[in-house]
C-alpha cells in the first residue's frame, strides 16, 4: 500500500514539474491547472500554518487557558477582529486602527534598523585606509570602494541638477552601479543553474533512474 502512495507521489511530483515547465513553451491548460492547484494549495497551507503556529500558540491557547493573566492579548485579538470587519462595508473604517498601529510600529522599527545596519555600519565600513595593504591590487581596490561608494551616493542626489561637477560624479556613480549589477547577475547564474540541476536530478534520477 505504502509503495503505491510513494509511487503516486513520484508521479505527482514529475507531473507538477512538467506542467510548470510547459509554461516556457506557452500558456496552456496544463500550466493553468498546475497554477490554480498551486494557488489553492499554498493559500490553504499558509492559512493552516497561521492557525497552528501563530494564532493558537500566541493567542487562543493563552486566552483560553488563563484569560485573566493574559488579558492583554484581548487587545490584539480585538484589533484582529477589527481588521476582519473590512468584509462589512459599514465597518470598513475600523480596520484603520490596527493598520495605523502596525504601520507606526513598522516605521519606527525600520527607521532605526536601517539607520544602524545600512547607513551607519556601511559608512564606517567605507572609512578605510586604502594603503593598509602592501598589495597593489588591494590598494587600487580600496580606492575603488571609497570612490565608488561616494559617487554612487551622488547619483542618488535628488535636489541638484546632475550637471557640471555633480553630473560628472553621478555619471561615475552609475558606472559603478552598472558594474555591480553585472557582477551580481553573473554571480547569480551559478545558483540559478543549480536549481535546474536539482529539478533534473529529481526527474532523471529519482523518477527515471537515468542518473547513476
Amino acid at each position: 500500500m505504502i509503495q503505491f502512495w510513494t509511487m503516486l507521489g513520484l508521479w505527482l511530483g514529475a507531473l507538477s514539474t512538467l506542467a510548470i515547465w510547459s509554461f516556457l513553451y506557452k500558456d496552456n491548460p496544463f500550466y493553468k491547472i498546475a497554477e490554480q492547484i498551486f494557488v489553492g494549495v499554498s493559500a490553504a497551507y499558509w492559512l493552516i500554518y497561521t492557525i497552528y503556529n501563530i494564532l493558537i500558540p500566541n493567542l487562543f491557547s493563552k486566552i483560553l487557558t488563563d484569560p485573566l493573566a493574559n488579558w492583554i492579548y484581548f487587545i490584539p485579538g480585538i484589533l484582529g477582529i477589527m481588521m476582519l470587519l473590512r468584509i462589512i462595508p459599514k465597518f470598513e473604517k475600523l480596520s484603520f486602527y490596527p493598520l495605523s498601529l502596525l504601520i507606526g510600529t513598522t516605521a519606527g522599527i525600520s527607521l532605526l534598523r536601517f539607520l544602524k545596519s545600512d547607513v551607519l555600519s556601511q559608512t564606517t565600513a567605507t572609512m578605510l585606509n586604502p594603503f593598509s595593504s602592501g598589495n597593489l591590487a588591494v590598494i587600487i581596490g580600496q580606492f575603488i570602494i571609497i570612490i565608488g561608494t561616494i559617487t554612487g551616493l551622488v547619483y542618488f542626489y535628488f535636489s541638484k541638477k546632475h550637471k557640471g561637477f555633480i553630473g560628472y560624479n553621478a555619471r561615475l556613480g552609475i558606472i559603478f552601479l552598472m558594474i555591480s549589477f553585472g557582477a551580481s547577475f553573473g554571480y547569480t547564474v551559478m545558483a540559478r543553474i543549480s536549481l535546474l540541476i536539482g529539478r533534473l536530478q529529481f526527474l532523471l534520477g529519482d523518477c527515471l533512474n537515468l542518473i547513476k
Binding site: 516556457l24 543553474i193 543549480s194 535546474l196 540541476i197 536539482g198 536530478q201
Partner: protein, 273 residues
Amino acid sequence: MKITTIDRRWIFLFILIGVGLPLMLPLGFKLEVTPNVQTVYNLIESTPENKVVLLSFDYDPASKPELHPMAFGIIKHAIDRKQKVACLALWPMGSQMVDDVYQNLKKEMPDIEYGRNFINLGYKAGGIVTIQAMGKNLKNVFPSDANGTPITNYSILNSIHTLKDFAWICSFSAGTPGLKEWIMVAKDKYNIPVTGGTTAVSTPGFLPYLNDQNQLTGLLGGLKNAAEYEFLIQRKGTATAGMDAQSVAHIIIIAFIVLGNVAFFVSKKRKKD
C-alpha cells in the same frame, strides 16, 4: 535582422539539454585541483589502514546537493584505504543523510559491512557540549547506534574510548552546530586533525582556519571542490556531473550573449550602409 529577435524558447531548449545531458553522461571537464582539496585527499591517503575515523553529518536535505557528494566521496576514499568509518549527526536530519549515503555506498562497494568498517551512531543534541563530552568518554555519549543496538555488539569501536582515538575528524557542515564547533574542541583542545566540507555560501567564513596552526586540515567548499575531490578519487559522481552541467550552461549563455552582440553590430552596420 532576424537573429536579434530569436525566439527565446530556443535558449530555453539549449539550457535544458545543456544541463540535462551532462547529468546523465558526465563529461569530466578537466579540473584544476585546488590546494585545500589536495590537502584533504592527502590526509585520508596518508592515514594508516585499520584506523577509525569520525564523520559528522551536520546538515539537512536543503544542503544535500552540495554536501552529499562530498560525504560520499570521502567515505568511499576512506574505506578504499581500509579505514573504518564512524558517522554521527549534530543535526536531527543528519542521521537520515548518513543512512542515505550508506545505502548508495552499498551498491558500489560490496566489501562495506555495517558494524565492521561502518557505523551510524545517529543524532545527538547539544552541539559543542556533546563534542566535549565525547572528548571525555565516547561510549557514555553514544552507548548505542542509530538503530538502538549497543555499540559493544560491533567490533568497529573496540579500540575507541575518546575522541583522541580517532585518526581524523571530518564535519559536513551547513551551519551551527558544525565544523566550527569541531575545530574548537577536537582540534584546539585535543589536537586531532579536523577537516570538513561546507556549502559555498559559508566557505569564506572558514578560510581563516586554514592557517599555520592547521586548525583545519584542508577544506571542501561548495560543489566545485566536491567535483575536484571526485576527480582525485577517480569517480565521476553527482558533483562532477553537476559541475559539468554548470560549465555547459555557462558556455551556452555566453555563446548566446556573443551571438546577440554580433547580430547587434551587424545590423547596426547594415543600417549605416
